[in-house]
């Protein structure tokens, strides 16, 4: 069963989504809820692109994909 992601995994994921899926950096604490939704949406895009199960949640399979060496060009147009 997928394990709960650790804190540094969450940082890895946010960095990855920022670099390759245009996740915007959190500027204000009150936007926390919105940012979380945004992470989920970006995760869905990433999972869909790589043919993973689309959950919008950070699971082991998604983290493993994020850890793979890759090209620095974003996977999305915007």
């Amino acid at each position: 069963a997928p394990l709960a992601p650790e804190v540094d995994t969450m940082m890895l994921a946010e960095g990855y989504l920022r670099n390759f899926y245009g996740l915007e950096t959190e500027l204000h604490p009150s936007f926390k809820r919105k940012i979380t939704d945004s992470v989920s949406e970006k995760l869905k895009k990433m999972q869909s692109f790589f043919g993973l199960k689309v959950t919008g949640k950070l699971n082991n399979e998604t983290v493993e994909m994020m850890k793979q060496p890759r090209c620095g060009v974003p996977d999305i147009g915007e």
Partner: protein, 367 residues
């Protein structure tokens, strides 16, 4: 394939490139050759030409860069991001930057410069990342045999959508990624590995976990970079936690992603006569530790404990497994043996020695 938003492209077909600096990881001549070949990957399939210049501004400037290098996209040290490129356009447009902190090579160790350069040049010419895991424009690095490199069909379709077809009389074609639910799909080899099922076909393998609905397709080289494509047989030795793969007269033993020292070896070291040139299929019975090898219409049985072939073999497949004929792939699951031939697989009960049913080869994928 996916085109970069706005469909940017070069307005001319005769482009120039310049190599600004070279990595100390490789001989300068090898860097130049890898980059030249990377350009040829694309010029072979579209009416573009690339001319190398030594001074001044070229359309595509290629360089090795370190950490923050002033373009707003810093590198962060080894692994992670390997390189990036800019879409067609003036000044920085088309330029390619490689992360100097990676280990660049002309083989399967570290990161192969030719493969990364060819991928980045796809961006320089107007291609975005493709979700096809077999394509060159897939964002994750995977080593592939560079001596026999053929640009995948997905990439050919993409670049020809931008620049048109090659001027060559015969249009180049490339390998296509197999479709998981293709009714005509057959397999080169099938095996279990740590509770998952692996299905091999050409350069690809599908991973299927019995409790997970989705099936994942990957390049074989993503897991075992040193293995050639076209594996012909495979089996898991559960007791030793090893994975054995066969191609032609060689076999490899892997422990996780590392090849065990001394491999590949010749199949004749297992006790096969010299007349046997390749293994078509294999499976290992984890209870008896007997491994079955299928060759043409016969099979051999190998004792993993004694490390030798059992007496009285080969036997005819038909005498034990029924009218199956040649076997392409085989594996054991939940006490049954599954024997694949073409688009079909036969579920065989070794206790009653009877065929239970005949299924489509892709039945495991939930198609």
């Amino acid at each position: 394939y996916v085109l970069i938003d706005g469909n940017p492209k070069w307005p001319r077909n005769d482009l120039t490139y310049r190599i600004i600096n070279r990595t100390p990881d490789m001989r300068p001549a090898d860097v130049d050759e890898a980059i030249k070949q990377a350009f040829e990957v694309w010029s072979n399939v579209v009416p573009l030409t690339f001319r190398k210049i030594e001074d001044g501004a070229a359309d595509i400037m290629m360089s090795f860069q370190f950490r923050d290098h002033g373009d707003g996209y810093p590198f962060y040290g080894p692994h992670g991001t390997l390189a990036h490129a800019f879409q067609p356009g003036p000044r920085i447009g088309g330029d390619v930057h490689f992360d100097e902190e990676e280990t660049w090579t002309k083989n399967s160790k570290g990161y192969n410069l030719f493969i990364v350069a060819a991928h980045e040049l796809g961006h320089s010419l107007g291609l975005a990342h493709s979700p096809d895991p077999g394509s060159l424009m897939y964002p994750n690095y995977a080593y592939r045999d560079t001596k026999e490199f053929h640009l995948p069909q997905d990439d050919i379709n993409g670049i020809q959508a931008i620049y048109g077809q090659s001027l060559q009389p015969v249009q180049p074609t490339g390998p296509s990624t197999p479709r998981t639910c293709d009714p005509n799909l057959s397999f080169d080899a099938v095996a279990t590995l740590r509770g998952e099922m692996l299905f091999f076909k050409g350069r690809y393998l599908w991973r299927k976990h019995p409790q997970i609905r989705e099936t994942e397709i990957n390049l074989i080289s993503q897991f075992w970079p040193t293995l050639p494509a076209g594996i012909q047989a495979a089996y898991e030795d559960v007791e030793k936690d090893q994975f054995v793969l066969f191609k032609e007269d060689k076999f490899w033993v892997f422990k996780e992603s590392n090849v065990v020292h001394g491999y590949p070896k010749r199949i004749h070291q297992l006790g096969f006569p010299k007349t046997v040139k390749r293994i078509n299929a294999a499976f290992s019975d984890k209870n008896t530790r007997k491994t079955y090898f299928f060759v043409a219409n016969k099979y051999w049985r190998y004792d993993e404990n004694r490390q030798s072939m059992d007496e009285g073999y080969p036997r005819n497949i038909i005498s034990v497994f029924g009218k199956i004929g040649k076997v392409d792939a085989a594996f054991q699951h939940d006490g049954y043996i599954y024997l694949f031939h073409g688009r079909k697989q036969t579920q065989f009960d070794p206790n009653t020695k009877q065929v239970v049913r005949v299924l489509k080869s892709t039945s495991w994928f939930g198609c």
